[in-house]
Every structure is written in C-alpha cells, then in structure tokens.
Symmetry: none
Subunit: 232 residues, 2 copies
DNA sequence: AACACCAGTTAAATATTGTTAACCAAACGA
DNA sequence: TCGTTTGGTTAACAATATTTAACTGGTGTT
C-alpha cells in the first residue's frame, strides 16, 4: 500500500517544518507549502489524500484555498489549523465543508489522531458506524472496551466475540444474514469461518443466559437474530 | 418531514455556538442552553428528538438533568459530551439510560455520525417494538421469537413451522393458496417443496390438537385454511 | 368400481447448526 | 529463550431442521 499523501499549507516556517518532519516520521508523505498560492499550485499538479490548511496566510488564505479545492475535488478531506478562540473561523470553515479543525497550539499526537480519524472515516464511510455502546435487555456492550456488562457483572470479550455481539446488537430484533456477518468479521464466508462463527455463537449464548429476555434465535439457512422481548 | 429537534446543553460558549451553527448547517434544529437549569426549562416547554448534554455544568449538571428528563420521557435519547478520562462519569451516565457518549475534544463529523446512528437506532427500534404476535383460538404465535404458546405451554418452532403458521394465522378463516404459500416460504412451488410443506402441515396439525376450536382444513386442489370456531 | 391424482403421515436420508475439546500460533512474562 | 497464556481455528461428534422417499388414504372423474 502506498503512503498517504498530505498537502500541508502553513506559513509559519517553524511549525511548517515541525509538521513536515513529524508526519514523515510517522510514515506519511507530506508536501509543505508556504502560502495559499503555492498550495493551490501543488494541488493542481498532484493528487492528495488530505489537506492540512492554516487559515491566516499571505497571498491566499486557507478559506479561499479550501473553497477552490472543494470546487475541483469535493471529497478531498480538509483539516483546518486555526488560532485559538477563532470561533467564527471554525464556523466558516465548517460551512465550506472542512472535515475537522484543530486549534493552535496543538500537540503532534493530537493532530495525528485527527488525521487518522478523518482518513479512517472517509475511507470506509460506507461501513457501519460503530457506536461505543449498545444496549439490549439487561446488557450493555462497551464496544471499544471489548466488555459486556450484564446482570452478573462485567465480562471481558475477545475481539471476535465483540464484533459478533456488536453486529447482533446493531440489528437487534432483525435477521442477521450469516454470510453478511462472516464477511464483516472474517472477510469471507468460507466453510471453516462459518464453523468458527458457530463456535462463537455458542459462547455468546452462554454469556447471554443471565437475562431470559434476551436470546439468539437461528433462522435455518438464513442467519440469526438477537431478540429482546419486553416481558418483565 | 420536519426537522429533527435537538436539545443542546453546553456551558462553554465557544463550543456551544459551534455546535449550534454546525448542526443547523447540517439540517437539524438545535436549541442551545447554557446550563442545566435552562435546559430543563426548555425541555419542559418543547418536544425534542434527542439531547446532547454536557456533564460538567453550572447550576445543574448533565446527570441530574438527564435523570429528570428520563423520569418524564423515558425514550428520549441522550448523548453525553464528556471530558476525557471521566470513565466513572460515563458508566454512571449509561446506567441512567444515556444512549451514547462522546469525549471532548471531538470532531463535528464524529458528533454527527453519533447523532445519526442514535436516531437511526431509536427510530428502528420503534418500528420493531411491537413484536409481531398472532392470536387464534387458545394459541398465540410469537412470530419473532419463533414460539407458539398454547394451552399446554410454550413450543419452540422451527423457522419453516413459524412461517407457515404465520401465514395461516394472518389469513385466519380465509383460504391460503398452496402455491402462494410455497412461493412465500420456499421461494418456488416445485413438487418437492410442496411435499415438504405437507410434512409441515402435518406437524402443525399436531401442535394445534390442543384446542379443538382450531383446525386446518384443506380445500382440495386449492389450498387450506386455518379455521377458528366460536364455540366455547 | 377403476383410475388418476392429490394430500397425510411416518420414517429415513441429508444438511445445517450446536457444543466440546484438541490443536496451533502469536503474544507475553519470567 | 523457554514455558505460559490467550485467542482463534479445526476436528469430532451431538442435536436439529429440512428434504426426500415410501406408503397410505382420500377425492373427484369417468
């Protein structure tokens, strides 16, 4: 897989160099421009995956540049670097269609998190958005902690258990197609993966035994569903 | 369709304004309150589809507000805006009945994804809340649970039994065309599927023996019907 | 009544799913 | 580095669900 290409436009030479250096270190391929005009030229010449734009810049400010870029390539994600308390700037930026903003001063780590978050989201925007928390019956799935909280306490989950419960909970009371679930979790719906999933279903049914309102029923040849009845 | 109404309670004026502006831009109808008390007053006055509550707020914190809201309108989804590392807060919030949380700082896009996910989920669960139930004679078919409740107790059904009983019950006292039922359940009305269905009819007749008021009669060459006589 | 056909029942064959335990490889800790 | 642990896969077997087959009894037609 080729490197992620970033168009960085920042007029402060210090910050610019730090950004470039750091992003290179982290495996990205940043192109640094010193002002909006230079940024525009680079954008026209090459293809990028994401833009980091300062707002206050000589010759052409970040907004103008962003607008022009969006006119040409609407789906190119843009992250603005704004001075603190520039609320109006932020709002203006969001209107243009920026995907996020980060206020100066920021830590490199924070920046990286934002960049990754945007890339992740824009890349697989068609994927189901993972909520952090799913509730069903007396259970709470803490998806990003991989923990299932039930009447008998908290239960650490393996990642496969976690994924499978998430899919079931997201489609609560609706049929989950076998092959669909397999493709989501294992990538393909081969025979052995299917058997593996059956093993996990069995494990999960045990975990869910603590609440009789909750059960996984199977629809032969189709899939299964998590049903939550509302009886007290 | 009218706009989705959001109750946003956030004491940081900067973040509050940004939230409001962004959500408006994205087609929502946010009402911004500066503290918990104001939020409570707005809540009492108008109807909302979702609440975004900061936790740390003057006058009335997010938890207290959430609890009060849930007391009045239990199904109103709540999303907490929490500071990082406030894990205890999060757990507490979830127990109150929050639907999700998002830790500051968060990107606008991330927030939007959460909001949409919650709305989608709660809307969906509205649709399915009424688990499908069919009554005939002394029987109740719990379609979603694949259970037939009769005078002798509950009976777990296979999915084919379940489907067939559902069709019969849905068309109670009316003729069910053979080929129609076959196409509904098996997809096509081939000879073998027809024989299969006969096997299931036989099984189902056994299940229905417990109530003499209920029986399946066949209309030669046409189909069959579930008849329920009125006699006590 | 004799025939053809349709439907009912039961049992056997097949396919799918459920469960447990053995196995394996990667990650971890001493 | 060597055991140990952990998560995940595979194998083996049990239990169910569904289909097919075989046989039986009806129904309508001539």
């Amino acid at each position: 897989m080729s490197k992620v290409r970033l168009l960085v436009v920042e007029d402060d030479p210090n910050l610019g160099d730090i950004l470039k250096e750091y992003l290179e270190m982290k495996g990205y391929e940043p192109t640094l421009c010193r002002d909006g005009e230079e940024g525009w030229n680079k954008f026209k010449k090459d293809k990028y995956d994401l833009c980091l734009l300062d707002i206050m810049m000589p010759k052409k400010d970040g907004f103008t540049l962003a607008k022009e870029i969006k006119k040409v390539q609407e789906d190119l994600p843009i992250l603005f670097l704004t001075a603190k308390n520039q609320k109006d700037d932020i709002i203006e930026g969001l209107k243009i269609g920026a995907d996020d903003y980060i206020t100066k001063p920021f830590s490199m780590e924070e920046l990286l998190l934002r960049v990754n978050a945007i890339l992740r989201r824009t890349k697989k925007s068609d994927e189901v958005i993972a909520l952090k928390v799913y509730k069903f019956g007396d259970f709470i799935l803490h998806y990003d902690e991989q923990v299932l909280e039930g009447p008998k306490g908290r239960n650490k989950l393996t990642s496969k258990e976690n994924e499978l419960i998430r899919i079931l909970a997201a489609e609560m009371n609706k049929l989950v197609n076998r092959s669909h679930a397999l493709k989501q979790i294992w990538g393909d719906d081969s025979y052995f993966n299917a058997r593996s999933m059956d093993v996990y279903l069995s494990k999960i049914r045990k975990l869910l035994k603590d609440d009789p309102k909750v059960q996984i029923i199977t629809v032969h040849g189709e899939g299964f569903k998590l049903i939550v009845s509302e009886k007290q």
